[in-house]
Amino acid sequence: MSLRSPLAKAVGWGSAKEGAAHWWWQRITAVALVPLSVWFVFSIVPLAGADHATVVAWMQSPLVASLLILFIVLVLHHNQLGMQVVFEDYIHTEWLKLTCLILLKFATVLIGLIGTLSILKVALGGR
């Protein structure tokens, strides 16, 4: 006999009450990344082989800078959720799995900061 109520089973949130959050955010970021990825490809294709001045001028548009930051941040969040599942599925040594998961979170934040600050620096007029 289970001590869990039928409602608890149906809702399925577990003790932390956030079981659906991972799944849900992966979808939310996916939906947002559909138009953003198309925008990114359309923007990056004409920049093939461009020189520094051209790329800087492109990035100094507030619209471009905003969308690029949004793209990188959402991509990183989406990556992080996906890579977490990959690590959980394929790494069976507990300490190694945990180490990888923690490094993944740290790396995600670091890469996000580097990307965001680089874009802001260019967008706000620095070289």
């Binding site: 294709v45 520094h52 990035m59 991509v75 890469i111």
Partner: protein, 132 residues
């Protein structure tokens, strides 16, 4: 106790994956590959912020044979993951589960992804107007 030789699970060495399974594992593989590609994107953005000289060096690295090869594969992975991701989103709202639809959408994803990859590279080379 009688035993039979029926496989207990799809045994990857002897079991040919059907198309939907192949597309499923490719979705995951392309996602991992794109996560690595994100590092390249941030590296490029960092180079822009680091000045003209650094940027030139990074552009040459991306413009090398290896660089172009990787960028081409990342383009393909992006379009595949994008198209197949949309296919997954339709499944998430409960549509497209009929077996014929699953195969048809699978083939559509592959054709569209290849077409968009080739198209964007043709456009890139055309807009570039020759040069190195």
């Amino acid at each position: 106790m009688t035993t039979n030789n029926r496989p207990l699970s799809p045994h990857l060495q002897v079991y040919r994956l059907p198309l939907p399974a192949l597309l499923s594992i490719t979705h995951r593989a392309s996602g991992v590959f794109l996560a690595i590609g994100t590092l390249a994107l941030v590296y490029w953005v960092l180079a822009i912020a680091s000045g003209a000289e650094e940027f030139q060096g990074v552009q040459e690295r991306f413009g090398s044979i290896t660089g172009r090869g990787l960028l081409f594969l990342w383009t393909g992975a992006l379009f595949y993951h994008l198209c197949n991701g949309v296919r997954h989103l339709f499944w998430d709202i409960g549509s497209g589960f009929e077996i014929t639809t699953v195969y048809r959408s699978g083939w559509t994803v592959m054709v569209v992804a290849v077409a968009l990859t080739l198209l964007s590279w043709l456009a890139a080379y055309a807009m570039r107007g020759g040069g190195a």
